[in-house]
């Protein structure tokens, strides 16, 4: 397809869509009666509900069903797929890596974001300083992985280095290091990428809630001689606790579904695969439909309690 044809398709799609929406609005604009109002409700809501039912609800139920069937989706195998996830040595490594990601990324990026937000708060360069940390949020995870792969680039110690990390090692007198190939530490260096991306999110939310701490509390604490680290520990952190929980849970959810970084940086090789990546490999490369479905359901089960907790905290925050 040529560029021109693509834009024609784009225009057709938008035109058809707006045609449908305009039709809904036109047809229902005359209704005033009670029954008319109900018809209006249906017309307004139906397109969205139909898409959600067809594209989210039905597929989710279907996947749960498939997770109990074999890899060609022809026979019923009970919990065999789940057993594979928890007993196969490769799959156990996937679980271990996922646990490592979910343990480290939320904690470290929230910590960095919080400390940075406190340090630059009300400083002269606050806006600029925040912008620096914030920027990675606009970058795709693929782009972020390429940026860091370049930092981690490996060459023999005798050669001149092009990767920053190994240049630092070399100038400190150490041997150069295969950051992305050496198991199991390569997982940590992939996790660094995610922390780098997520810290900006943590900083933005936490900075906003630090600014919302009532001035009189801070003043009162200052009059009592509280300052520095104790102010941070006893005033700042307790006052923004609800936001902290929202940030940690939100990042956990994102981390559980991390896919792009692993695929771009290592392709899941060298024992770096995680749940969401393994789901992709089993479903679309290895044609293990049953196992892939079981992995997807596992992500679902792990994410569910965190989302529910997250939403409850968010509502509490909004109610304040």
């Amino acid at each position: 397809m040529s560029t021109g044809e693509k834009f024609v398709q784009l225009l057709i799609c938008i035109a058809v869509f707006f045609g449908v929406v305009a039709l809904i609005l036109l047809l229902t604009s005359r209704f005033r009666s009670r029954n008319g109002e109900r018809l209006q409700f249906v017309a307004f809501v139906l397109p969205a509900i139909a898409l959600i039912a067809l594209g989210l609800l039905y597929p989710a139920i279907n996947t749960i069903y498939q997770s109990f069937r074999d890899n060609t989706s022809s026979g019923f195998v009970g919990f065999d797929n789940y057993q594979t996830v928890f007993t196969n040595s490769e799959q156990i490594k996937v679980l271990r890596n996922t646990a490592l990601w979910v343990a480290l990324v939320p904690i470290v990026s929230t910590f960095v974001g919080l400390v940075y937000a406190v340090l630059v708060d009300r400083s002269r360069f606050e806006k600029f300083a925040k912008g620096l940390i914030f920027l990675p949020m606009a970058i795709s995870l693929v782009g972020a992985s390429i940026i860091w792969k370049f930092v981690y680039d490996y060459r023999d110690a005798e050669n001149s280095q092009i990767g920053l990390a190994n240049q630092v090692l070399k100038s400190l007198g150490f041997d150069t290091y295969q950051f992305l190939l050496t198991e199991p530490w390569n997982n940590l260096f992939l996790i660094v990428i995610m922390i780098w991306v997520q810290a900006g999110f943590a900083m933005t939310i936490l900075s906003a809630s630090i600014k919302a701490i009532p001035e009189d509390i801070v003043e009162a604490a200052k009059l009592d001689g509280v300052g520095g680290l104790r102010m941070f520990r006893y005033i700042t952190v307790p006052s923004i606790r609800p936001s902290l929980i929202v940030v940690v849970t939100t990042i956990s959810i994102t981390t559980l579904k991390v896919f792009d970084i692993v695929r771009t940086a290592t392709g899941g090789n060298f024992d770096t695969s995680v749940l969401a990546y393994e789901f992709y490999v089993q479903s679309f490369r290895s044609n293990n439909a049953g196992l892939g479905a079981a992995l997807a359901v596992l992500i679902f089960v792990l994410v569910m309690p965190i989302v529910i907790y997250n939403v409850r905290q968010m509502r509490k925050l909004e109610a304040r």
């Binding site: 929406v21 307004f44 609800l57 989710a60 940390i133 920027l135 940026i147 300052g227 896919f259």
Partner: protein, 312 residues
């Protein structure tokens, strides 16, 4: 209050210096150093790649980008090669990214605004239950939906026209457009509903008394008032779609015709992993659009972020 005024003057002075000392401790050299270290760690990797994208191929491959300060040489060749070279051809994928993104942002927003209005202001039996159900579906990770949804596209029931495959309508873009729209809807409806229900009810009531129908209220009163909220969510959806890899990989089927930049870049990173002059330029070709959007509309972005627009 009185206690403070009763205190001897020296006491107050002593206390004030104690507190200002404490404040100084927080902004001590160590604290500043820590902030600077974080800022540097968060900027240098990107700067290194940006600088490399402007260095000649031989330089990029033979020594580190920091040598630019002692031995400066710049070129546009990498960008020319990566955009127009026959083996990378990022210009084509750039067009694909644009073609994918525009409908994937417009469609879910329009549908969500309509639905959110109905959920907030039109009375209907079972309305609240339906809204909670939509909201609850946010917890479904997109991975769970992918295979059955793909099957629906390839072999739809009732002999409908398949949306994927060789002779699909729109060259196969419809699967990606639809998928992005579907995945965005629950969060979009929820957020826009939140904004909408904050608009005072008297405004709607008085408009209804004046004889305005829901369609007039929706288009004349709601839409203008909702512009900031729509902008906030729009930026999120834009960044999400532009930066997405998984949806494009699964529903685009990896065919050159419909793959966005991210898919191509991820592939280049695997097959041409050592061609850093191409990878660096390629990465920045894909970063430029979201960065411009992000920086120019940062205000709305932060507002959306604080309202909870984070999609997993």
């Amino acid at each position: 209050m009185t206690a403070a005024t009763d205190l001897p003057v020296e006491h107050v002075v002593a206390k004030q210096t104690a507190s200002s000392q404490a404040r100084q401790k927080l902004s001590s050299p160590w604290a500043s150093l820590f902030a600077v270290v974080i800022a540097v760690l968060w900027t240098v990797p990107t700067a290194g790649l940006l600088i490399s994208s402007f260095r000649p191929e031989d330089d990029v491959k033979s020594n580190g980008w920091w040598n630019i300060f002692t031995d400066p040489s710049f070129t546009w060749d990498n960008y020319d090669q990566v955009l127009n070279g026959t083996d990378t051809d990022l210009a084509t994928y750039f067009v694909n990214s644009i073609v994918i993104t525009i409908p994937s942002v417009i469609i879910p927003i329009c549908l969500a605004v309509l639905a959110a209005y109905a959920f907030a202001w039109i009375k209907f039996p079972g309305r609240d239950f339906l809204f909670v159900a939509v909201f609850a579906l946010q917890i479904v990770p997109i991975q769970v939906t992918m295979i059955p949804l793909l099957k629906l596209y390839v072999q739809p029931p009732f002999n409908l026209q398949p949306l994927a495959g060789g002779d699909a309508p729109g060259g196969g873009f419809y699967t990606i457009w639809l998928s992005h729209s579907i995945f965005a809807l629950p969060l979009a409806i929820y957020l826009l509903h939140n904004f909408m229900s904050q608009i005072p009810g008297e405004l709607i009531e008085s408009a209804r008394v004046d004889g305005a129908g829901h369609v007039q209220i929706f288009s004349r009163i709601m839409l203008p008032l909702m512009t900031p909220a729509i902008a906030a969510f729009g930026i999120f959806q834009f960044l999400w779609v532009w930066n997405d890899l998984l949806v494009a990989l699964v529903f685009g089927g990896g065919s050159l015709d419909v793959s966005p930049l991210t898919v191509r870049l991820a592939e280049l990173s695997g097959t041409r992993g050592q061609d850093w002059h191409l990878l660096s330029a390629g990465a920045f070709v894909s970063l430029v659009v979201p960065l411009v959007v992000f920086l120019s509309l940062q205000r709305y972005f932060v507002r959306g972020l604080l309202a909870g627009s984070v999609k997993g």
